[in-house]
Symmetry: C2
Subunit: 364 residues, 2 copies
């Protein structure tokens, strides 16, 4: 078992990585001083429940815990205020009090929704994340939790750090290949913003990762989380540095909103966004290789960087205007300056972005 | 103008009290470093809007600010996730970004809803409170914001401190007498939990306060806020001490939930609750005068302490079980031990509480 501490002062917490570590879940809860008198509510989805809900519930009950659970529909559309309302109903009916713990067993959607429920139920109860996707490595660091609004993604939320994260790489074996690819896109992003060596390692180990080689996977997830943990510990509430984690997300979020949250996977959307950011970099005079390395790496992982031509450019531009990264009337973009380094540019003209969106439809 | 600082480290903020101080609103915003580039969203309700919305908007626009506004229906039923959704729609359409400020112009309902919107919009933007009721003195200290759920009051929320509070006592002149009485009930509560001298002062000044004598009012609000500020600065997130502010609220919240949030005013409900807590105190062996002083003082302010007999006792008991103050299966009650002092008891039997609920229907 590998351990990474996300360093946030009194809100610091550990992430445990390993094959089969879910078997030790009751011990891990004990280590975090979650007493048996704390009621637990497991939130999971219809994809994850058949594989792991009974197992996790059983192990926790053996450990002396009282466990309630609820199963949501998979996909971004569950990240809604309606679902928050339903979770609160379940929590109240199960008798959850302030000492209770909400457990997110699943991917990013489950983590974001359950996390926001934990942040706001009784003005905040503890929560534990058990990611079962690759993408969720990203949302398991940094405490960003949220639900969506009809007009914008992740617009209603909080910063709420988990008590701990239990990352059992065995759970990844049941993922469809499309989600594996899309999840690795976010790992690639961590490399692109921070660590050229890690980018090169990813390039060499693409096939191992796609085949879910346990050792390669554990390394990639650990490194990805490490990059994010470094950034987040320096800027928990996204005042400045943390924004760099949004490479590819300005365009990416807009694409998700316009395509409908379940059409394009998050990793697929930000991959197109990263290609767009790389194009922007080149246009701003940074090295040409930024674009070629970014897109070739993504393609090696079987991820398309072409923007679906059926998505309307005007709608994409409008969605970007609602993005949280739009401040004081200027467009804010995370732009690579070399592989492993980015800057935040807040002077990007909407016209250039529109051009790039059009280009991405042709040649992404 | 009187000023009180709520001392919460880097989240400290001032409360300004005075007659007519709304006229200085743009200056006060400037003092808090709210720049003219920050968009403002004023949230108010249909009762307050006709009297103050145009004035406040005008003064802020004169000060160089861009101001959007939205008017909600008055009453607890607006504290819902549906209304949060609507506020977020307005905020997005008005182009509010992370540097924006949400301004709550109104009573506790407006403050709670707008405050939770500020806490969760883009994971947290600044907010300013302009209370226009007496009751709102209470919610303007301590940063508790929330919306209700069908099964429980204030169950979905956050701790989100305002940047400042502007308390113009002139705005209280348009309040109906029923709300004045109910608002003063919460001021009485501050006295009962902390300050016997203040209780005696309230007893001597009941008529002045009911007549909205500006000087008496400013003193009472300042003292009420001061008690709360002392308590909150020692325990921001309600780990222990802060619970004493809930005198009368265990029964009170249940009554509001059962009666329907708009039937009994909050101050009316907690007055019955305070009479109940005083009864409990006497039953636990504390001095008889706790009950007589409490109820006589409330009656002097024209506030009934009789529990409406149409409210079903079983439903009231069930609602208490959903209260946040119900922990580990025991009932938690704030119990006066003398006038100006309370303790938190977590060993109160449900049977006793049921008896008291029944008694309050007959003799409250």
């Amino acid at each position: 078992m590998k351990e990474l501490t996300v360093d946030l002062g009194e809100r610091s917490y550990p992430i445990y990585f390993g094959q089969g570590i879910l078997n030790d879940i009751a011990d891990l809860f004990g280590r975090q001083k979650i007493g048996a008198s704390s009621k637990l509510l497991i939130v999971t989805d219809e994809h994850v429940a058949p594989n792991y809900l009974a197992k996790v519930t059983g192990l926790l009950e053996q450990g002396g815990y009282t466990v309630a659970s609820t199963v949501i529909k998979p996909g971004e559309s569950s990240k809604s205020l309606e679902m928050l309302d339903q979770l609160v109903t379940v929590a109240l009916e199960a008798g959850l009090d302030r000492k209770s713990v909400i457990v997110a067993l699943g991917g990013g959607v489950v983590g974001d929704l359950a996390g926001f429920a934990a942040a706001s139920y009784m003005r905040g109860v503890r929560f534990v994340q058990i990611p079962t996707t690759i993408l969720a490595h990203d949302s398991s660091v940094g405490g960003k939790v949220a639900v969506n609004h009809r007009l914008a993604k992740n617009i209603i939320g909080a910063f709420h750090q988990p008590q701990m994260v239990i990352y059992d790489t065995e759970t990844l074996n049941t993922l469809p290949i499309r989600e594996i690819r899309a999840g690795l896109a976010e790992v690639i992003k961590e490399g692109l913003i921070w660590d050229r060596e890690f980018v090169e390692w990813l390039d060499r180990n693409a096939n191992k990762l796609l085949a879910l080689d346990p050792e390669a996977l554990q390394y990639a997830l650990y490194e990805g989380c490490k990059v994010k943990a470094i950034v987040v510990s320096k800027d928990e509430r996204e005042n400045d540095l943390r924004a760099i984690l949004n490479l590819g997300h300005t365009i990416g979020h807009a694409l998700e909103a316009v395509a409908g949250y379940n059409e394009l996977l998050h990793g697929e959307a930000i991959s197109i966004g990263m290609a767009g950011a790389a194009k922007l970099a080149v246009r701003l005079g940074y090295p040409e290789e930024i674009y070629t390395i970014t897109t070739e790496l993504l393609h090696k992982f079987g991820i398309s960087t072409r923007l679906p031509s059926n998505l309307d450019t005007d709608k994409i531009m409008a969605a970007m205007m609602h993005d949280k990264k739009f401040q004081d009337g200027k467009m804010v973009f995370i732009v690579p300056t070399e592989i492993g380094k980015v800057v935040v540019r807040n002077d990007v003209s909407a016209e250039w972005v529109r051009d790039i969106v059009e280009q991405l439809k042709r040649e992404g």
